[in-house]
Structure formats: structure tokens, C-alpha cells
């Protein structure tokens, strides 16, 4: 059987680099070294799949075990990542063929593609075409997203660190807001990623804790936005607890599926470009509940490392100054 013959492997990073993408690389490289009877050299693509297309392969067999272990704590994308989408086989078959030819030239029998949904799809297409071209490749998708929305993964590498980050950030923000709410910011809004998956927004629940009444309001992309209900809840929070902490997913939409933050533009992948949903929510709160925006600009891009150690986009709202 062809599969038992020793072959080289190719590993590539794709898309936004997570905090742990290099830890996944480490896992692939260390594991490959444990199976030397089946896997020869592991090549990493310089700048992801572009490295395969341009035949820029990094020979990781030259890395020491210590260097590979250090990948666990290496920031960014150690081999370079890319935003480069292979289209369908029909549209750009030549590009897929090019990849397979490069693999053939370097005796590569295993393709590890470290990325999100699109990358998993690419790995699948390469696998199909490789069979068709009589050079069957074992294609393995190595999951990577912060959104935690990949099928068949429970906690996707990349999500855990983001969840922790969101929860810690919100808790810090809450403490700051709580200590100022008497005369300043009463509503804090943090927008988080997650166009269709609310896992990241849900992480705000870790900050909210187990108290029956918490000042937290979380807006999920999975739940159609109900303005009246939302405003009622925010107002109750401020009146009962003194302030309100809102975590809003970028993908929040109305019952017709229209994103609250839709700008009408499309990105390179054909996805709708979303403007900030936080300012939309901020204006809504201001206009309907009579909160004034003050202190900093209504939509501040400024870093406020003092007030928000986590330093997220934030918007401060405040009632008209009340004399004590």
C-alpha cells in the first residue's frame, strides 16, 4: 500500500494568527518526529499556502528539538501565515494542480493545513484532486479559529485564550466602571468577534459570575435582536445596580437576518463587511434611555490604558451630570 511508504509532510498556517497557532505547529512537528518510519521531513510553507504555490518550503528537520518546543511560546505565526483563498476547483484548478505538483516534487504525502473553515475546505479539495491526479495525499486539517465554530471540534485551539481574554477584560472594565459610575460612565459596551457564532460573546458570562442579578447583558448572533427587550434590560441594570456592562457580538442581527452593523460592503472573501455594532448600540442606548455621551469621544478609538487595562474598544455613556 502506498500509504505505508515513508513520505515527507507539508505544514502551513492560514488566516489570522491565534495565540496558540504555533503550539499547533509544535504538535505537528513533534508528533511527526515520533513517526520517522512513516514521515520523513516536515516542510513548513513560508507564509502559509503561498509557500507551496511559490515553492518556498522551510525544512523543519533543521530545527532542533529545543527550537520546536519553543514554538509553544512563540508569538504571531512562526512560519508566516496568509490570507489567500483558493477558489473552487472549477474556477482555479491550475492553482490546486500547482500545489500537488510542488508536493510531488518534494515527495510530500501528508498535508497539514492549520486554519479555519475555509482552510479545512481547501484541504478537502486538495485531497480530492490528489486522488484524481493519481498522487493521493493524506490531508489533515489542523483546527484554528477564535470563534470556536468549526464542526467536530469541542473547544477549538484559539478559542480558549480569547474566552479568557474577554472574561478578564470585562471584569477589569466592570471594576473600573463600578468605581466611577456615581458621576461618570454608567454603560460600558464591548464588541467582540463572532459573526455567526456567539461563543466569544458567551465568554462574557465567565465575568458575570453566578450572582442572580448581574450588570451584564450579552447579545448573541444566534438570537434575533429585540430592541425593546434590550433597552429595558439595560435601564433596569443601571437603575438597580448603578451601571451596565454590554458584550455584543459583531454578528448581532435583527429578525430578518440584517446585521445591525452592516455597511453594505463586501470583503475579499465576499463576506459582508461589518462596521462597528458597538456605536450602533451606543446610539440606541443614548437616544432611547437619555444617557449622554461624555468625557471621551462618543466612539472612542483612543487607548485608555488607565481606565481599561484590557484596552478594548469602549464607549462611555453618562447621564447628564447630576449634582450630588
Amino acid at each position: 500500500m502506498a500509504r505505508t511508504i515513508k513520505k515527507n509532510a507539508f505544514y502551513a498556517q492560514s488566516g489570522g494568527v491565534t495565540s496558540v497557532i504555533n503550539a499547533s505547529a509544535c504538535g505537528v512537528l513533534e508528533t511527526a518526529r515520533k513517526h520517522k518510519s512513516k514521515i520523513g521531513k516536515v516542510y513548513a510553507g513560508l507564509n502559509g499556502i503561498i509557500g507551496a504555490l511559490t515553492e518556498n518550503l522551510i525544512d523543519t528537520s533543521k530545527m532542533t528539538a529545543k527550537e520546536i518546543a519553543a514554538l509553544r511560546y512563540t508569538p504571531a505565526g512562526a512560519f508566516g501565515s496568509c490570507r489567500y483563498k483558493l477558489t473552487t476547483l472549477d474556477v482555479n484548478r491550475a492553482e490546486y494542480e500547482r500545489i500537488i505538483e510542488v508536493f510531488k516534487a518534494h515527495d510530500i504525502g501528508y498535508f497539514f493545513y492549520n486554519g479555519g473553515g475555509d482552510s479545512q475546505d481547501t484541504a478537502y479539495k486538495v485531497s480530492l484532486l490528489s486522488q484524481e491526479m493519481g498522487y493521493p495525499l493524506t490531508c489533515v486539517g489542523v483546527p484554528k479559529t477564535i470563534d470556536n465554530d468549526l464542526p467536530f471540534t469541542d473547544c477549538c485551539p484559539g478559542f480558549g485564550s480569547v474566552a479568557k481574554y474577554v472574561a478578564v477584560s470585562l471584569k477589569e472594565a466592570e471594576l473600573d466602571v463600578a468605581s466611577m459610575a456615581k458621576s461618570s460612565t454608567k454603560v460600558f459596551i464591548m464588541e467582540v468577534m463572532g459573526r455567526h457564532a456567539g461563543w466569544i460573546a458567551a465568554a462574557a458570562g465567565l465575568a458575570a459570575g453566578r450572582a442572580k442579578k448581574t450588570p451584564y447583558v450579552i447579545l448573541f448572533p444566534e438570537i434575533a435582536f429585540d430592541q425593546a427587550k434590550f433597552l429595558k434590560r439595560v435601564d433596569e441594570c443601571v437603575k438597580q445596580l448603578g451601571y451596565c456592562i454590554i458584550c455584543v457580538s459583531e454578528g448581532v442581527h435583527d429578525e430578518n437576518g440584517k446585521f445591525l452593523a452592516d455597511t453594505g460592503l463586501k470583503d475579499a472573501f465576499g463576506h459582508s463587511q461589518l462596521g462597528g455594532v458597538a456605536p450602533v448600540i451606543a446610539s440606541m442606548v443614548k437616544e432611547n434611555l437619555g444617557y449622554n455621551i461624555t468625557g471621551l469621544s462618543p466612539i472612542t478609538y483612543s487607548v485608555r490604558p488607565d481606565i481599561l487595562r484590557p484596552k478594548l474598544m469602549w464607549i462611555k455613556l453618562m447621564r447628564s451630570a447630576k449634582q450630588p
Copy 2:
């Protein structure tokens, strides 16, 4: 002499809470305890100066030494802070008199006001009026700003942590951008606080390091913005080094003093409200250098904990997709 009679003290926190404002509180309380022959109880104002106006005083003599020491690591404002500006003596003399009367009632002879420029000014006014009213107070401004723009302080408590934060954030952002620049973000923009003082922006220099050629461009409020020069430098960075990291102070203005980010609105203190200068810079780079804005929304409020672990407002720009 009145000053040698043992008097109580009043301590209040004011304005945005820095990472170290409670460490300053700790310093005041611990030092006061060392001078028991001169200082009796130290009262802290609940929510800053509002606590004096409403006679909400926290008796810190009930705190244990351990609790006071723990202030060093306590987040937010331990006693509550406020954004509440006392106006001039002419306009609101009654409010100043009220403070002095509350101080009299609690036998307070020392007033420690922990805040920025406005708070130092308030402390001075209280001191003047107290003399006039025949109840002389020793008023001590305890410096606190992130901007590092208080006179007579070299490094103001609050600045150091921000400087470190900005430098670390930018370095992390740079590493991420560098690993993606081949096919994605080529220009990264971070906007930082500092309306008139460029200390925070200058902290970006810590990330830039000592290399002769760095991809960093820092825009200061002290230097009139020169669009042609700026664009030339950004273009050179991208062409020579592959990407450019811009740190822009919110207070950047043209040679006539007009803020690039001026929205025409005023905040509660009468200061100009600034919109984001980062999007202004982003549009400028896009329109003049032909970079496309892609991936995320042009002005993204989204948290991108994967790409930017520090999670600052960021804007990604990219050239039109180039096929490899």
C-alpha cells in the same frame, strides 16, 4: 501654631482610575500612620470629592495594615472616583465652602487630592479659600495622570504602566502584522491618548527599538502634521520593510492647531470632543497610497484577540490582492 495640633486628613481619588491610583492611596495611608502625632484619622471620600460634598467619608483607621498594603494590587478606584469638576470660586463658592465646612466638622486639617491637572487646581482653590475662611488647610495634590503632563513631575504615577502597555502592545501587533504582511495587513494604526502631550505616543519608541530602519511611524501632538511627509514615510516603510506600524496621538493637529479628529463637539469639561484620528489616518493612507481596506471593517470596533493580543483599536489595510 495651628499646624502642630493633631488633625485628621481627607483623601480623595479623582478622574479616570489608573493602574496605580490605589498604590498612591496606599502611600498616603501608610505614611499618615507613621506620623500619628500630627495626623489622626484619614478619611477617604466615597466617590472622590463627591464624598466630601455629601459627607460620605470612609474611616480608613478601621482598615488593617494588611488591607492597606493590599491597595497596591487593588484594581480600579478602591474608594470610588468621580468625574466632577468644581468650577471657579466666583461661580460656585458655595460648593467650596461646603467642602471646608465638612472638613471642619470632621476636624480635617490635611486634604490629599489624587488626580490630574484639574484636581491639583481644585486643591489649590480649596487651600486659598480655607485661609480666607480662617480654617487653614494643608492641601496636597497627589499626582495621577496617564499623560505624564503634570508640571513638576518627571514620571507621573499612571504613565509608566501605560508606556509599558503601549510598547508591548505595539510589539505584539508588529509581530502579528509581520507574519501576515505578505498577503494581508501591511499597515497597522494604533491611536493612543494624549491630547497635548506626546509621552504616550513616544512610548511606541520602546517597541521600535534601536535599529536604524524601523517600520514605526509616531505622530505627536507637539509636531504639526505634515501629510506629504507622513505618506512618504509610510510608503517607504511598506516598500522597504514590508509593513508599517503607526502610533498616532489623539491630539495630532495641523499647523493651524486644528485637530485631525475634531468632531466640533465639546465634552462636559468644555474640551473639544475628538472622534478617532486613526480612521482619518487610515482613509488618508488608503486614498493616497492605494492601499485597500479589507478583511474586517475599515474601522473595526471588533475585538481581535487572536491577531492583537493587546486588543487595541486597529485598522487593517492591504494592497489589492496580489497573486503570488
